[in-house]
Symmetry: C2
């Protein structure tokens, strides 16, 4: 198989299908989504058999337990995909929305219309359910999609792809509106991210190395996030009970997620009051604290288990632990906290805990991250919590889509003009 | 001079200044803009002397008349820059705008806040007034800027840069908020477009080869347009008087502009009625017509001057003439017109002329260009005509900014969250 020719063919198919999908009605798109859900339900046994092939190959290849877990697709996984499709069918169609329509002095009426991006390429790793998640969001937003899943999930993904095709056909839409790459050759990714004639945007979903590679080599726009080094700043004007709840929740609600707090900044005057209480709660959950020298002076006398209290090194302020580990640093004031965030944040999510009106306003206005919060846990930075209905990813870029990316992030706005024979004078 | 080190230094300066500019009040930014205007007025003689150095060097280098004309800066050019600065000072500040603020079931309130992109790099050619245009729009939208003008305008640009610095300092803003690259070494461009750590977006302004080169090599987002291959489609349900006015205006109002029509599509049943009238008007203005065979059959008997009527070759449908030349093709219906546009348009601006409600709706919804119009001249695709107040460029990309890019296109939206001790359950 000539991979380049194959990918160009997929690209041409997608570009042609994109026009049909962009012109499809909301009803037709929803019909396709619901038909996919039905087909998944009918094909349960086929899907599980295909997944068993992947699982066996994975075990033979020596994949670790976590990877095998992500790869597994059973009835509950199939139920989730079906439920996801129905939810996306229930979301409002972002396309066709007209906004900012105004008469201009020339007499023309100018506004904006929301339209699909065109062709979206998705590159992801082992979870087969991403195939349905990504396909459904792209379809609902009127885009054609080329999906490139992990090689270890190839059989599962092909079985899911068959259900997707069947749903598209049932709704009278071109089956090439969603194409799942059928080769595991890595060159397919290299081609996919360097075909600006056929692909408008790439969404890589997976580990940091995948995302870095895709971003470095792509010749089309990439919606991505690399790191979630999120901060909570507890101000001296904070309500310390709220601060306790938020700092505990932001770190310990879930450890392996991008919107978990990785560094806690505490105004120095209240540190002796809040930190012992927080440290006890963290240690209770076996969270390791890596702390600045001032924090060490406060916590060292209290540390029951010295293995959970360490002096922070410089690199700790730039690390995304994704684990029960937290860096803690004292700061003199809001400005020093914002300086630290400007220097070390990955631009994902930061929170101030403070009852002071002006400081909250300053923090919200000046901190340059995708989500900036006051008196709420960083864990809220999420498409569902924000009301997007679903999310294709979280972007730490500033261009195009920022933060949780839902259907709207897969669209763009064109200008529309109504005249009645108007010409430029 | 080590160009790489020099550019990194500019980048670091800009990144640091971006935080100050983002935090500056609207009043402070306006003060800086007005102080720049005053300084330009005071420095008229210096500016004209600097420009004379460039003009002399240009003549010595053998620049053609058109390039020398673009390079020239006299009192009227200085007046325009001053007026431009005052206009930008008068525009609404896009930053800080909060939208879509809603309570979520969790109790948090979530919305979006408009914020600067950060650091904008502008690469342009001979016109020195772009230095002021670009600097003022970037400053007003809260961004730091690195400007790289054409080497032939280096003295003019440095003199303008001195006025910009003086304005920034007068308003208490860092003078590194706007930096004009002081070397004419081409490596400076190569460095500027590959410093994602220091530059958030690049706006190239100039000829197609510059823009292609920048787009190909850039490692940061680029807001650009390459071509304006704009179409007017005259439907058989058109008001032919409106169609005549629009088709004439779209081609002949100005020839060298990106929003001029380059191809006219005419529904075949009305061609014999509208085309002779239009052709006479075009020929009257010495516009050369390059036409399909059906059009040729209609126009050949009428052509007084055969040199202004030619058979179109395949390449004519993909050419941006920027000249008194127009391609004309007959089509069977709206669908064939939209097919032609999908295949040959550069995605800039297209117009349908029709009184038919459904066809207008279809054209507006389905044509995938930055501006899609009904019954109006393509010449309206312009930041001023759309009410943006000013434009930094016109984008034919779909990601981030599309069509005329004003202050808003130089900003992004972050999410803001108000809680009151809220945590994820």
């Amino acid at each position: 198989m000539n991979i380049k020719n194959y990918m160009v063919q997929l690209g041409q198919n997608a570009r042609a299908a994109a026009r049909s999908i962009a012109a499809a009605s909301s009803g037709q798109k929803n019909q396709a989504l619901l038909a996919m859900a039905e087909q998944l339900d009918l094909d349960r046994e086929l899907l599980k058999q295909a997944n068993q092939l992947d699982m066996q190959a994975g075990r033979d290849k020596g994949l670790d337990a976590a990877m095998l877990d992500r790869l597994a697709l059973g009835d509950s996984g199939i139920d989730s995909m079906i439920e996801g499709l129905r939810q996306v069918a229930g979301l409002a169609d972002p396309c066709g929305e007209i906004s900012d329509m105004n008469f201009r002095p020339s007499g023309i009426k100018v506004g904006k219309m929301r339209v699909p991006l065109g062709v979206v390429g998705i590159i992801y790793e082992s979870r087969p359910n991403v195939t349905i998640d990504a396909a459904s969001l792209c379809l609902k937003s009127g885009n054609a999609t080329i999906l490139r899943g992990g090689s270890e999930a190839i059989h599962s993904n092909q079985a899911i792809a068959a259900c997707i095709k069947s749903g598209l056909v049932a709704a009278g839409l071109p089956e090439t509106a969603v194409q799942v790459v059928e080769t595991t050759d890595r060159q397919a990714v290299a081609e996919l991210i360097t075909m600006p004639a056929y692909v408008d945007v790439i969404v890589p979903r997976g580990g940091k190395s995948l995302i870095e590679r895709v971003s470095r080599d792509a010749k089309v726009a990439v919606i991505k996030h690399l790191d979630g080094i999120c901060h909570v700043y507890i101000d001296d004007k904070a309500d310390l009970d709220k601060a306790f709840d938020i700092a505990l929740n932001a770190k310990t609600h879930r450890y392996g997620v991008c919107n978990a707090m990785e560094t806690l900044l505490v105004q120095q005057d209240i540190a002796a009051e809040i930190l012992p209480r927080l440290a006890a709660a963290y240690w209770d959950k076996q969270v390791e604290l890596r702390v600045c020298s001032q924090t060490m002076a406060i916590l060292a006398p209290l540390a029951g288990s010295p293995s959970l209290l360490l002096a922070a090194s410089d690199s700790d302020w730039d690390e995304e632990y994704l684990a029960p580990i937290l860096a803690i640093k004292l700061v003199q004031d809001l400005n020093q906290a914002m300086d630290h965030i400007a220097q070390h944040s990955s631009g994902h999510t930061e929170t101030i805990v403070s009852q002071d009106y002006s400081r909250v306003q300053t923090f919200l206005a000046q901190v340059d991250s995708a989500s900036v919060m006051a008196n709420a846990s960083t864990r809220f930075a999420d498409g569902f919590e924000y009301g997007l209905g679903a999310e294709i990813g979280i972007s730490t870029d500033k261009i195009h889509a920022r933060g949780p990316v839902g259907l709207e992030g897969l669209t763009s706005q064109k200008w529309i003009v109504f005249g009645d024979g108007h010409i430029r004078a």
